[in-house]
């Protein structure tokens, strides 16, 4: 399945967030949807577009790691 993988925000500075996607860090523009470190977010075309509740995010990441999607 692997749909819209949620990433964990590591740091935020000047409207840019560093987000950890399964161990890979990517920069995303969070000016549209301000986010804080430790929150889980979905990034689309370089923009943070959605926040994901931690439990749902962890369940999705777990499914991914187990190859169930």
């Amino acid at each position: 399945m692997c749909m819209a993988i949620p990433g964990k925000v590591l740091s935020v500075s000047k409207g840019k967030a560093i987000v950890d996607f399964l161990g890979q860090n990517k920069e995303a523009d969070c000016s549209l949807m301000p986010c804080k470190p430790r929150e889980y977010v979905v990034v689309n075309a370089g923009f943070v577009v959605e926040k994901v509740p931690e439990q749902e995010a962890l369940a999705s990441i777990e499914m991914l790691k187990n190859g169930k999607c």
């Binding site: 399945m1 692997c2 749909m3 819209a4 993988i5 949620p6 523009d29 000016s31 549209l32 949807m33 979905v42 990034v43 689309n44 075309a45 923009f47 577009v49 959605e50 994901v52 509740p53 749902e56 995010a57 369940a59 999705s60 999607c69």
Partner: protein, 154 residues
């Protein structure tokens, strides 16, 4: 009038990120779709049918052989797409709740625009969406949105 190709691309482009993350399309193909969606130049129907197979399948289910007109494509995304998600059709059967929420097409009212961000009122709350695909939205316009992107004025 916009072509069926362009209407389809605008509504489906926000899903291309998911296809890229799943490894179903290459970075190169993703960038091509992105620039075609942003510039409004569109891409060939063959490409869209190959890349967005699930949306094409559902579009055909609703409209049969008349599926490829701008009106059918628009009506699919505005009036039918969310029902497929609610019914758990195809991959949506296994999709987490947050993803199903994001994947729905919603209507919203524009409050303001700043650079790439369009602030809209949706469900009694304000929310900012990506305005790359919709450059001429003005306060008061009703627009559609999909996966965090403003799609078009309606």
């Amino acid at each position: 009038m916009e072509s069926a190709e362009l209407v389809f691309l605008k509504y489906s482009f926000p899903c291309a990120q998911v296809l890229l993350d799943k490894g179903q399309i290459s970075k190169e193909e993703y960038e091509k779709l992105k620039s075609a969606a942003i510039s409004g130049s569109g891409v060939e129907r063959e490409t869209l049918e190959r890349v967005f197979t699930a949306a094409i399948r559902r579009l055909k289910k609703v409209f049969g052989k008349n599926y490829w007109t701008p009106e059918s494509v628009r009506e699919y995304f505005i009036s039918h797409h969310n029902h497929f998600i609610d019914e758990g059709e195809g991959e949506y059967a296994k999709a987490p709740e947050y993803f199903k929420r994001m994947c729905k097409v919603h209507k919203a009212k524009v409050i303001s625009r700043q650079g790439n961000a369009i602030t809209v009122e949706f469900d009694g709350q304000t929310k900012a969406v990506v305005g790359l695909l919709l450059k001429d939205a003005k306060p008061g316009d009703t627009i559609t949105m999909h996966l965090g992107f403003a799609i078009e004025k309606i």
